[in-house]
Amino acid sequence: MSSRDAILGRIRRSLGVSGTDATRLAAVHHRLTETPVNVVPARGQLPDAERVELFVRKACEIFATVARLDSRDEVPAAVAEYLRDRNLPQAIRRGEDPRLASLPWEREAQLAVTIGPSVGRDLAGLSHADAGVAETGTVVLTSGVNNPTTLNFLPDHHIVVVDASTIKGDYETVWANLRERFGAGVMPRTVNLVTGPSRSADIEETLLLGAHGPRSLHILVVG
């Protein structure tokens, strides 16, 4: 007998159930297709403007920095400004995401923009989030042809653009949007929920930022 059959058989014996029991199958099918929502904290259930404010407050609490921009055309200047303020070279690496490609990069003549995944030599990476979650100041990034996951982890500084209109109150709303975009039960290869910069407290429980991932997370909220 394969270990698969042995394990499943033992589970069924221990529970005293059968794997073909219609009631059980129906209960599982229902849960997987209806995806019922459990308890959602009231905290994020706010009108648009307040929800974005909560997102910003929560992100700052966990050591991210946030800049609010009126329009996406301001992103290149905001990136250049961030790098300048931290005495970093005017260089940024990003994916081919059209939401980033279409920005007026030519306005920042000094800024060297390279495109593609990171192999660990970039000081700063730029990504576009698919969503934000106000409840905890979290940004949601999905991988894909134009969105390398390595950019979220290898650069020392991670700059993330998020549209204010995509900042939701809770994770459940984000899941619903993912299902709409990718289909029920289908996920992009990698979905990263990022809540602040990398940190560790493994040495004497002292909180330090920048363990293996980015030392700083800078969020540009557009709109």
Binding site: L8, G19, L32, V191, D202, I203, E205, L208, A211
Partner: protein, 474 residues
């Protein structure tokens, strides 16, 4: 099995721990950091207890349908282009991982923090077969350098101080300039980051555990703060996930609910920094991500816990709150337990995994104060299960003879009120006389366990029932 399982010599281990001031100092921090952090996070979320109920219900539902959710999960992983392997026990899991590494021609392997790989003793097994995985979580890396096991499930190096870390780095990182200052945690972190960055970039295989397996989507989920788990799973060509069967949950909604409990209970964070869902290998046209994605599902005794008095233990999400709040753990740290999993959750789990004979001390070394259950996000009745182990120990006549005899004597008298009354009257009178004006005894025959550390307050003299009867009352 992994190295150093010494639960059988628990009292000796505890004695050594209590004579280790740096260890005791390190554990004392937990009150402010982890316990205080949890309290603040819980106070800031009014729905926390409702979430605990929901979390418990999700896990209870899943366990009742575990076979079906595992099948659903497997189907989704395969649809996404991944492989699912089933391992009945630790040896089979290790063998499967080794086979995948060898088939991939792996020379360098990185590892994210995973208690399940500790449970199966993976590092030792792979090492014996020519592949030593590099631990990349900072705490795990430190204890790997020291040749130790984790002393806490979420803070594996909580027992190590920064001077020890500096000494270990100087010993192992041979390129390190002797003049380099390693006095502060920040400089130690920078050193580890530099060394491990190279390891990440050159690894052929990355091994992680999983906090959740999502049946709805076939995703494996890891929750980390450092980002090491992500670098482990996206950079090498092959990603292996080793997870035990009870990690499966039905849907993304269910992950969301338990996520809200996990970090708050573990560290007091509202969310860990990185919560990552991995679904299959990289897709056509993807610029990065692993080319092969394997999930190894481990049973190792869990299927037998279903339907037993220990089923509730399978709700555990490994947050460590029970450990942080345990007065026994807080006195002796994790290594004294001599088991993979320390603290209350470990004392319930270890006898299932290693046999009661070797682990009987663990269930007894508890005051049953119940604080573990009161903070458990999954509302696992830990004291009740510790008591179940004590019952099994008693039924199987494993209880030490002295304790069994004492219990039998007590039982004889307690069931005979007249004899009991006479015996207690005499003993109370005798002890009161012996104590005299001092009102307490510093030495009592047969009670040296008590009097070695504290005085025994003397009885007032007459027993209550005698005094009551003297007053002509009923």
């Amino acid at each position: 099995m992994s190295l150093g399982l010494t639960s059988a010599s628990f009292p000796k281990n505890a004695h050594a721990a209590l004579a280790n001031p740096p260890l005791l100092k390190a554990i004392a921090h937990i009150e402010e950091t982890l316990v205080g952090g949890r309290r603040r996070a819980v106070d800031a979320l009014p729905e926390f207890d409702a979430l605990r109920d929901a979390g418990r219900d999700i896990k209870a539902h899943t366990l009742k349908h575990l076979d079906l959710y595992l099948e659903a999960f497997e189907k989704k992983v395969v649809e996404a282009g991944g492989f699912v392997h089933w391992a009945a026990d630790a040896a089979e899991a290790s063998r499967i991982v080794l086979d995948i590494c060898q088939a991939a021609g792996a020379r360098r392997v990185t590892k994210g923090k995973s208690m399940i790989t500790e449970e199966v003793g993976l590092n030792a097994f792979l090492g014996a077969n020519g592949i030593t995985p590099v631990e990349t979580d900072l705490g795990e890396y430190i204890i790997q350098l020291r040749g130790e096991t984790p002393s806490h499930i979420i803070a594996p190096a909580v027992h190590v101080n920064k001077e020890q870390v500096a000494a270990d780095f100087r010993r192992v990182h041979t390129d390190l300039d002797p003049k380099r200052n390693l006095d502060e945690p920040t400089s130690l972190l920078a050193e580890a980051r530099g060394v491990l960055r190279e390891r990440f970039l050159s690894a052929d295989v990355g091994i992680t555990g999983a906090n959740f397996l999502v049946a709805e989507t076939g995703s494996t989920v890891i929750v980390t703060n450092e980002g090491n788990g992500d670098l482990t799973q996206i950079l090498p060509k092959t990603h292996i996930v080793l997870a035990s069967i009870e990690k499966v949950v039905p849907t993304l909604e269910d992950v969301a609910t338990i996520m809200r409990l996990l970090a708050r209970s573990a560290t007091g964070q509202e969310m860990s920094v990185y919560t990552t869902f991995s679904t299959g290998p990289r897709r056509a046209g993807d610029p990065d991500g692993p080319e092969a994605f394997h999930v190894v599902l481990l049973d190792n005794g869990r299927s037998a816990m279903l339907g037993s008095e220990f089923e509730d233990m399978l709700r555990c999400i490994r947050c460590g709150a029970c450990i942080n709040h345990c007065p026994v753990y807080r006195s002796i740290g994790g290594h004294a337990y001599g088991s993979v999993y320390p603290g209350p959750m470990g004392s319930v789990l270890t006898p299932s995994l290693q046999g009661l004979e070797k682990a009987a001390h663990l269930a007894n070394a508890s005051t049953l104060c119940g604080r573990c259950e009161s903070v458990c996000p999954m509302r696992i009745p830990l004291p009740k299960m510790l008591r179940h182990w004590r019952e099994k120990e008693f039924e199987r006549h494993l209880t030490p003879k002295k304790a069994r005899f004492g219990l039998a004597v007590w039982r004889f008298f307690a069931a005979r009120p007249h004899l009991y009354g006479a015996a207690t009257r005499l003993a109370a009178w005798g002890l009161a006389r012996l104590a005299g004006k001092n009102g307490a005894l510093s030495q009592v025959p047969l009670a040296d366990g008590w009097t070695r550390w504290r005085d025994l307050p003397a009885p007032e003299g007459g027993t209550f029932r005698t005094e009551w009867a003297k007053r002509g009352r009923k």
